[in-house]
Structures are given as C-alpha cells and as structure tokens.
C-alpha cells in the first residue's frame, strides 16, 4: 500500500518499454524517492561509466506519499550519474510531475539507452510511446512544454530540457511546469545525451492507502500541529528570499565570488523587494505551504527568484538590481540551466577579469554581459564555450584555482562556510559535490544558537542532518517542512500500513547515505576529494559576523576524520565491510 507496485522502463535505443513489479524488499529498506531511486540506479549501473554515454540511466522515483493528501509530498526524485562531478547525482523537482507518475500507475520510471534522433516520450497511463522531437529540438523549455501541451492535452505534465541540455552542458537542468527544476549536477545533459527532449505524463488511476480514516486522521493532526506553525510558515509568507537578509545578517551571503559574506546592496534583492513584485503564491501538488513566488518584473515572468538564485546570481556577481536577477533567472529557466552553477561561473569569470588573469569582458556588477552569458553557455558560443564547462574547467584552463568555488566539480551554493564551519563539512561530504540539500547545519550555526566558528560537535550534527534529509527525500517530504523524525514515522506508517519507527527511518537514512558513498568510492572518490577550495582555508572575510576569521584546514581535517570514524568508514572515507553488512548493503 502507498505504492503503485510497478516500475516502468523506457529503452530509448530500441524505442521499447517494459514494466516490472516493484521490488518490495528494496521498498521496505529504502522506502521510495531518493533511497529507492539510488538503489535501483546502483543495482543496474557501473560506477565507472561515462555520465553522457548510453550506459547511464535516469531514474525518476516517487515516494509512498506521492499523490496523497499528505502535505509537502509533491516532489519527484531523479537519480543518475553526474556529468559535472562524476558522482552519483540525486536531485528533486517540485510541481505535479511526481504525483502524476503515481496516478499513471507507476512508482518510478527508468530511462535507458540513447535514441538515434531527438525524441520525446509519452506515458499516458498504460500507453507508453516514443515520438520524434525534431521540431522541438533547439527550443527552450517554455516553448517545448507549451507545444507539447497543445499537442497532447493540457492535463499532461511535462519535464523537459532546453538548449543547454541538448548541448550537453554539465550545468543543464530539467524543467517542469515552466518554472520548476531538477537543478543540480547536469541531469539535463544526461537527457540531452540520450536525445530525450521531454517526458510527458498523464495518469488517471487512484492512489490507495491502507486505511483511509487513519490516514486522514494522521495527516490532519500533523498538518495542524507540525506543518502550519511558525516554524514553517515563513515559506508561505516569504519563501526562500527571506534567507537573503538572514544570511547577510549572519555574514554568510556569498558576495563577489565568495570574497565577502555581506553584500552592501542586499536590500534591493531581499524578500521585501521580491514581495513588492510578487503577483501570487504558487504551490506544488498537495502543498499547504506554497513557497513559490510568481513574479513579473523587468519584462520577465518567473516563479522565483529563489534564495540560491538571489545569492549566486545576485550578491555573488555583485548584482543588486532585482530586475536583472529576475531576467537572468527567467533566461536560465528557459535555456534549462542551473542558476547556482551558472551564477558561480559568471562570478568566477568576473573575478578572473578583475584580477587580470583572463579577460571575459565582465566585472562584478556589470549587468549587460551578465545577462548575455546564459545564452552563450547554453549554445556554447564565444566565452560560453569555456564557461559552460564549469568553474573547475575554467580554473584549470586559465588559472585562479585557489578561488574556484567548487567541490568535486559542483559549484558551491549560497552559504559561506567560513561563517558556518559545519556547513563546510556538509559541502565536502555531500554525495554529489558542493550541495546544501544533504545537511543544512547553517540552521543551527548561522541562524541558530550553536557556535558557528568551531568544529566541535559538527561531525555528528552533519551526519544527523544527512540521515534526516536522506530519509525525508525518500518518503518524499519537502525540505521546507521541518517535520520531526517521529512524525515522519507516523506518516510512513499511515501510507504503507506497516508499523514504521523513527529508529527504522534513521537507519534507512544511514543505509541510503552509505549506498551513495559506496557508488562514489567505486567511481574513484576518496578523502582527497572531500575538501573545500583554498579560499575558504586561506583567506578571511572582510565584513560581518565572520570578518577576520580563518577556517583552519587542520581543524577541518580533524573534523573530517571524526566524521569518518563516527560513520564507521576508514581514514580514506571508504565504508568498512562491517558497516555495509550492518546496513544490509551489498
């Protein structure tokens, strides 16, 4: 119960499809979403493959709550191997596409192989077909989605790539419902390598839970007592732009390629400014928080800009003009580009130019070239052909390695590690490179009551966060509901019909994190890759709460060793056989 019971495989090489019964043993151990998607992926895929080869797969996986009335359950998990980092890549996308897959009768869809010519796939309940997409190839995500809806019907949900994905740009994302992205690590390029322009889904089947009365009772209670409270309602009143002012106050707002943690122009890109151009709030399926801000400004319409965009494409590029950030955001959405990585590579190019290392023709705060870059990157034209390869590549080609702000090839999101030392460990040990979605210790460090400038206790804090998020994204509850482990267990029990405890969820979180680590170890990653850019260890911030402080590398290394020891991994970060056996990982 809670599951549809079937997984759909679409083979683009042969243009065929098949369904398999859901592996119930895996579903018990990994629940759904991230966990189950990762389990399916690693069971079928060799870690050594080229991410852009036909041997790579894309696993779209729902959770046991998808399609029910449980709040904040509308997201979809996407797993593949990342062309940006070479690690496993799991990312999520909101909207309605996840529940729609469940309505069509599947827990997950697995895409394999490579088509000879561009195609789009249609899943209409049990009818699955693959069609030529020659007329869509070369178009942006907006055109693609609207044309497919015109062709197939308004009720189809579309997940597509733009020009960036077609051109195999390693920071290309998937876009769904015009404004929602599976953003990080280049899953759009994997779609592009398979010549899959879009996936369209319509479902009309019911989703069942074991005991409707009990389910409604649990959901109602949790909605009142745990969801719609002051702990979470910031998502409704403001959404993520609230973090601009919070981060600026705490001195961790990335500014001018992480040269500072405070941005003098923050007031024009903060939540109050975003609210002033907001048309309405938008929500994913079954969501009561509605974090999305639908805005129209500067001649552009966008659902956003989210905090990460305001930080990486705003303050980090020295841009304080909200209209410009919104236009940048809209361009990236349509081209199918991750705004975090794109903002980072623009900021890096600006610093290289200012330091005279290489002239990319743009300095911090220059709006005109800043707005031209996304198109150049997506089409790999001019300076875009270099910038499209990401910060690590540009640093290797032109220099500036010390201030190339990436981990494992994935650019750093919007929280300055020198003002939250635990966050540095979270970036270094994330399973997909620098990522803020695996653990978020800044909540306690920068915005909470823990001392941000110590490594004491941070290893355990990060591990706890990684397990919590791993299981949360497997049941698929959105990040923005700060639900307790106990209440997640109540939801999981109500959806699956078996008694699930919070200890079982904690253990599943650990199992999932070790499964992704094992894949990365087998792909060649060891301790040396679990680190941060030199700038973090060698330079100090100029202003704000963390001003003048260094983040000593030896402290970081000590914390990393503690982290491995607590995890039962060896000094190189390899999970020990005992640990793997304990967690039932093969």
């Amino acid at each position: 119960m809670g599951y549809a019971g079937k997984v759909l495989f679409i083979d683009l090489t042969s243009g065929t499809h098949r369904t398999e019964e859901l592996n119930r043993t895996w579903a018990q151990l990994y629940f759904g979403g991230k966990g189950l998607g990762v389990k399916y992926f690693v069971s079928m895929t060799a870690p050594s493959i080229d991410a852009l080869s036909p041997e790579n797969r894309v696993v779209l996986m729902t959770g046991p709550l998808a399609g029910t009335i449980a709040p904040c359950s509308g997201r979809l998990s996407v797993t593949t191997k990342s062309p940006a980092s070479g690690t496993i890549l799991e990312c999520g996308v909101g909207g309605t596409v996840g529940p729609e897959i469940k309505f069509a009768g599947y827990d997950g869809i697995i895409i394999e192989g490579r088509a000879n010519d561009p195609v789009y796939a249609v899943v209409d309940d049990d009818k699955v077909s693959v069609h030529p997409a020659g007329d869509l190839w070369g178009r942006g995500c907006h055109d693609t989605e609207l044309m497919l809806k015109d062709r197939l019907g308004e009720e189809f949900r579309v997940i597509s790539i733009g020009q960036a994905g077609e051109n195999l740009v390693p920071m290309a994302c998937l876009t769904s419902e015009l404004y929602r992205q599976a953003g990080r690590g280049g899953v759009g390029a994997v779609f592009g390598s398979k010549r899959l322009k879009a996936l369209c889904i319509r479902g009309r089947k019911p989703v069942r839970v074991p005991d409707m009365t009990e389910f409604m009772k649990v959901v109602g209670e949790l909605m009142r007592e745990d969801c719609l409270t002051d702990t979470n309602l910031w998502a409704r009143t403001d959404g993520t732009p609230l973090l601009v002012e919070a981060s600026n106050s705490a001195g961790i707002l990335p500014t001018k390629n992480f040269q500072d943690g405070v941005f003098e122009g923050f007031k024009t890109i903060n939540s109050e400014s975003v609210r002033s151009v907001r048309q309405r709030k938008n929500a994913c399926f079954a969501c009561t928080l509605a974090c999305g801000n639908y805005v129209r400004s500067g001649g552009a319409v966008v659902e956003g800009p989210e905090y990460e965009t305001l930080a990486l494409a705003g303050s980090n590029c020295g841009i304080s003009d909200l209209d410009a950030v919104i236009r940048f955001n809209a361009a990236c959405d349509d081209l199918g580009l991750d705004t975090i990585s794109t903002g980072n590579v623009v900021a890096f190019a600006m610093e290289l130019t200012e330091r005279g290392i290489h002239d990319f023709g743009m300095r911090f705060g220059d709006i005109r070239p800043y707005l031209e870059v996304p198109g150049l990157i997506a089409r790999r034209e001019g300076i875009g052909s270099d910038l499209a390869q990401g910060v690590r590549y540009v640093a290797e080609k032109y220099g500036g390695r010390n201030f190339a702000m990436e981990v494992k090839g994935l650019e750093i999101p919007g929280y300055e590690p020198r003002g939250a030392w635990g966050m540095g460990l979270a970036y270094a040990t994330s399973d997909r490179g620098a990522c803020h979605m695996r653990a978020w210790p800044v909540a306690d460090e920068a915005y909470g009551t823990l001392d941000p400038f110590t490594t004491e206790g941070k290893a355990a804090l990060v591990i706890g966060g990684q397990h919590y998020n791993a299981i949360k994204f497997s049941l698929i509850v959105c990040d923005f509901w700060a639900i307790s482990m106990e209440n997640m267990a109540r939801l999981a029990s109500a959806a699956t019909g078996r008694h699930v405890t919070s200890e079982e969820l904690e253990r599943a979180g650990e199992r999932i994190y070790n499964t992704t680590r094992l894949f990365n170890v087998r792909a060649g990653f060891r301790r040396a890759a679990d680190t941060l850019p030199d700038r973090i260890f060698k330079e100090t911030l100029k202003t704000g709460r963390a001003a003048g402080r260094t983040y000593p590398k030896e402290e970081f290394e000590r914390m990393l060793s503690e982290y491995y020891a607590l995890r039962g991994w060896d000094e190189e970060g390899v999970p020990t056989p005992t640990k793997l056996e304990e967690l039932e990982i093969s």
Partner: protein, 116 residues
C-alpha cells in the same frame, strides 16, 4: 505546538507595552510616562512573525521601550514565544539576545528556517 490565532488589537498592544514599561521602570510619584528615559526602535518581523504585529501594521513597526532593554526584552514585549525566534539582527548584523538596544536601532527578527 498548536497555535491559536492571535487577535491583536492596537489597544491590546499598547496596553502590553505600557505594562512592560512600568514593570521595567516604575514611575516616581508625579512623574509622567514621557519623562522616563526611553528609546524607540524600528522592528521588522520577518516571515510569519508578521502576525505578532497589531493588525494592519505590516511587518514594520516602531516600539518604544525603556532604555537599557535587550533584544530578548523586546521579543517579550511584542509577545512572540521565544522558540519561534531563531535569531535577531540589529542594524543588519546578527546579535545575541542580550544585546542592549539603543534609540533608532533597526531590529530584524527571524523565525526558525529550514531547507534553502
């Protein structure tokens, strides 16, 4: 953590402030309120904290309090349960709860945050 909807009226807010004012700085006989040394701070209630402001107030308001009061005192005066304030900033910089407030300060209060 069930939350009853707060139904502030301006008079309630004023009454509460008045009470706090007197508790913290008892008046001498014959002294008027205006003679007690006080300071006015601009408070910005971020996120859902907005609902702790008097209705129609929006998220910005000026609060008068006796001199020498801290950010923690201010939160009590407004009446926000302490667990719903993760941190506060004075004039754009995060400060501790025992930070003493001065006339003309801008105080921003934030709820707990998750995700990103």
């Amino acid at each position: 953590m069930a939350q009853a909807e707060r139904d502030w009226s301006i008079s309630q807010m004023e009454y509460y402030q008045h009470e706090m004012f007197h508790r913290n700085a008892p008046m001498e006989h014959g002294q008027s309120v205006s003679e007690i040394p006080s300071c006015g701070v601009m408070v910005v209630l971020h996120g859902s904290l907005e609902r702790y402001a008097p209705p129609g107030q929006g998220r910005r308001m000026i609060v008068h309090l006796p001199r020498g009061r801290t950010m923690a005192d201010l939160i009590d005066i407004i009446g926000i349960p302490r667990q719903y304030v993760s941190f506060g900033a004075v004039n754009g910089v995060r400060r501790e709860m025992n930070q003493e407030l001065k006339d003309g300060d801008e105080v921003a209060l934030f709820t707990p945050l998750s995700g990103g």
